[in-house]
């Protein structure tokens, strides 16, 4: 279970970083999105993975998931969503203003 989640985070982050290094805004945007997926998943499991338990603590329950990372990841998702939206608008604006989708502006 841990290995599976770790591999998933690794693949998401790796793909994200690869796409971030592209020269066009669209792949960069996708890369940032994938990177933030990886981050969110990582943040989520930083409270450890618990299998077969109620989502919140209960009397006498030995193992229960840590609620704080869930709260953190919710915040992170909201912020990440807002930032991605801003970047989409900015990228579109850059195409209009500079006539290309190269990250340094214009068509290279």
């Amino acid at each position: 279970m841990e290995a599976l989640v770790a591999i998933a985070i690794g693949v998401l982050t790796g793909t994200g970083v690869f796409l971030l290094l592209r020269a066009r805004t669209f792949p960069v945007l996708l890369g940032l999105t994938l990177l933030s997926y990886g981050v969110n998943l990582f943040l989520f499991v930083s409270g450890r993975l618990v299998v077969g338990s109620s989502p919140l603590t209960d009397q006498g329950l030995q193992a229960y998931p840590d609620p704080i990372p869930q709260a953190l990841v919710l915040t992170a998702i909201v912020i990440g969503f807002g930032m991605t939206a801003l970047l989409v608008v900015l990228a579109l604006r850059a195409i209009r203003d500079t006539g290309g989708d190269h990250v340094d502006g214009g068509e290279r």
């Binding site: 981050v39 915040t75 912020i79 990440g80 970047l87 990228a91 604006r93 500079t98 990250v103």
Partner: protein
């Protein structure tokens, strides 16, 4: 518990929201609301400074949730002085923006308040995740302010800033996740309490989290090699915005100064002094490169951007000593460089606006209009920022040099600092003579626009504060020393936040 601590966060929030609602009001009304809200920050900051001057930590538990369960805001000497600096620079920048910058795009004043909300929150928070949230608040406002007025050059520069900072945010979350996984807490005081208890099995994880975090703060503070985005972005922003951004890099420096001595200080067991090997060398490289950048810049605004990189390098060289003397020098130098960089951005913008031919490029063109006023403003700013006596730059640099003299490798630090300072003096002297002295016969007969009194007043106000830093130098330096003492002794912070309530932690620890 006093509610004073949260007011510097609440006030811009309320004012910003009000300004959003007041979208249909005229420019004058919005300008007035913004000015009143920003002006009110000044007495608030002074009051806070007065309350914490005796060394108390004012702790404010949001929603009255006891730390470490809830989020706390903590005001101590360092936070209070940063709030005061922010209030001063914000006021000057807003007054300057009133000279016309604020009507070049929609919602300038609302964004300005949200920017202040983020900055003040970042200075006050005592929680690592909350610091992330306030970073995002200030960043998203800064993107919008950077884009204010648009233009292809600005959009291009903003693209880099946004992408880099989004990557920075992702790394921040990785670091936060790692530290949380290891320690089970994100409250800074609680982190400081838990760090020494970490066993050697998890210490490498904590160390990688700490260094990842340092990378993020270095990106915000524009340390090389993560600082190349800064000069172009700041040069592209409108003058008033760039002046406010002079505080933004200091947020990164503040975060380093807040987190590392407290959480990863000498008493942190396995992870003690984790940043010590990195900050100083990187800061020296930044400093040298910043000085070269100033020399190589072809416009005044670009050189002001590099000047920020240079001053961040100097500042972090002092922080990187991780000694009491280093912290004291850093506090004084922060005050100086924030005010001086803000003034330099405003002066550059004013010169670019007044000069009919050539803008702020270092070209031989017509004589500078309003040469006496602009020349005086530029001269005082240049003397300050180049670190020449008798103004605060000189004292700040002396402070840093003195702090470095006791450190190992003092020879290297002194040489880099002094040679870079010389390079900057040469560069600033060259810009001054290129702009003001070397003139060609007039090519245009157009009458230069009249100097805006608000713009001149804003710059003069900032410069008056710089002079104040010298005139009341004794007060300023002794405050810096007291702040340094407070920073070097994390136990005071920890006990102020967590109190004697040890039982609650043990209970929580056993639950995990």
């Amino acid at each position: 518990m006093t509610h004073l601590v949260i007011l510097p966060v609440l006030l811009p929030l309320v004012a910003g929201s009000l300004l959003l609602l007041a979208a249909r009001f005229g420019d004058a009304a919005r300008r007035a609301i913004g000015l009143v809200a920003t002006l009110a920050l000044l007495p608030l900051a002074v009051l806070l400074l007065d309350r914490v001057a005796d060394g108390t930590h004012l702790v404010y538990a949001l929603g009255d949730w006891a730390p470490p369960f809830g989020i706390v805001l903590v005001a101590d000497r360092l936070a209070a002085v940063m709030l005061l600096l922010t209030a001063i620079v914000a006021l000057a920048s807003l007054v300057y923006a009133g000279a016309g910058d604020d009507t070049r795009g929609p919602q300038y004043h609302a964004l300005f308040q949200f920017q202040l909300l983020g900055i003040n929150g970042a200075f006050l928070t005592g929680d690592l995740f909350n610091l992330f949230v306030f970073f995002e608040v200030l960043l998203i406002a800064s993107y919008a302010l950077l884009l204010h007025g648009l233009g292809a050059q600005r959009v291009g520069a903003a693209m880099h800033v946004v992408v880099l900072n989004l990557i920075g945010s992702a790394l921040f979350l990785f670091a936060v996740g790692t530290l949380y996984a290891v320690t089970g807490t994100l409250n800074l005081a609680d982190l400081a309490r838990v760090m020494p208890l970490l066993g050697p099995d998890v210490a490498p994880l904590a160390r990688s989290g700490a260094l990842l975090l340092l990378g993020v703060f270095a990106l915000k503070a524009a340390l090389l090699p993560l600082g190349f985005w800064l000069p172009r972005a700041y040069a592209a922003a409108t003058g008033a915005t760039a002046a406010l951004f002079a505080v933004l890099t200091k947020v990164g420096v503040y975060a380093i100064l807040r987190v590392y001595p407290l959480v990863f200080g000498p008493g942190a067991g396995e992870v003690a002094n984790v940043a010590a090997a990195w900050v100083l060398p990187v800061a020296l490289v930044t400093l040298a490169f910043g000085a070269l950048g100033v020399l190589a810049a072809r416009t005044l605004r670009m050189s002001a951007g590099w000047m920020v990189v240079y001053s961040v390098g100097t500042l972090l060289a002092a922080v990187g000593l991780f000694s009491e003397a280093g912290y004291a020098a850093a506090v004084y130098y922060t005050a100086h460089s924030t005010l001086a960089s803000a003034a330099l951005f405003l002066v550059s913008d004013l010169i670019a606006r007044q000069r009919l031919v050539g803008g702020d490029r270092f070209e031989v063109v017509d004589a500078m209009p309003h040469g006496a006023v602009l020349g005086t403003l530029f001269f005082v700013t240049a003397v300050t920022i180049a670190g020449l006596p008798p103004l605060s730059g000189f004292i700040g640099k002396l402070f840093v040099l003195e702090a470095a003299s006791a450190a190992p490798g003092a020879v290297v630090i002194w040489s880099v600092l002094l040679v870079a300072a010389l390079v900057v003096i040469v560069a600033v002297a060259r810009s001054g003579s290129a702009l003001f002295w070397r003139t060609a016969p007039a090519t245009t007969s157009a009458w230069p626009p009249a100097l805006d009194r608000r713009a001149v007043g804003a710059i003069a106000g900032l410069l008056a504060c710089v002079v104040g830093l010298v005139a009341w130098g004794g007060v300023a330096t002794s405050y810096a020393w007291e702040t340094a003492r407070q920073l070097a002794d994390p136990a005071g912070y920890v006990s102020a936040v967590l109190g004697a309530d040890e039982g609650a932690h043990e209970q929580r620890r056993s639950l995990r």
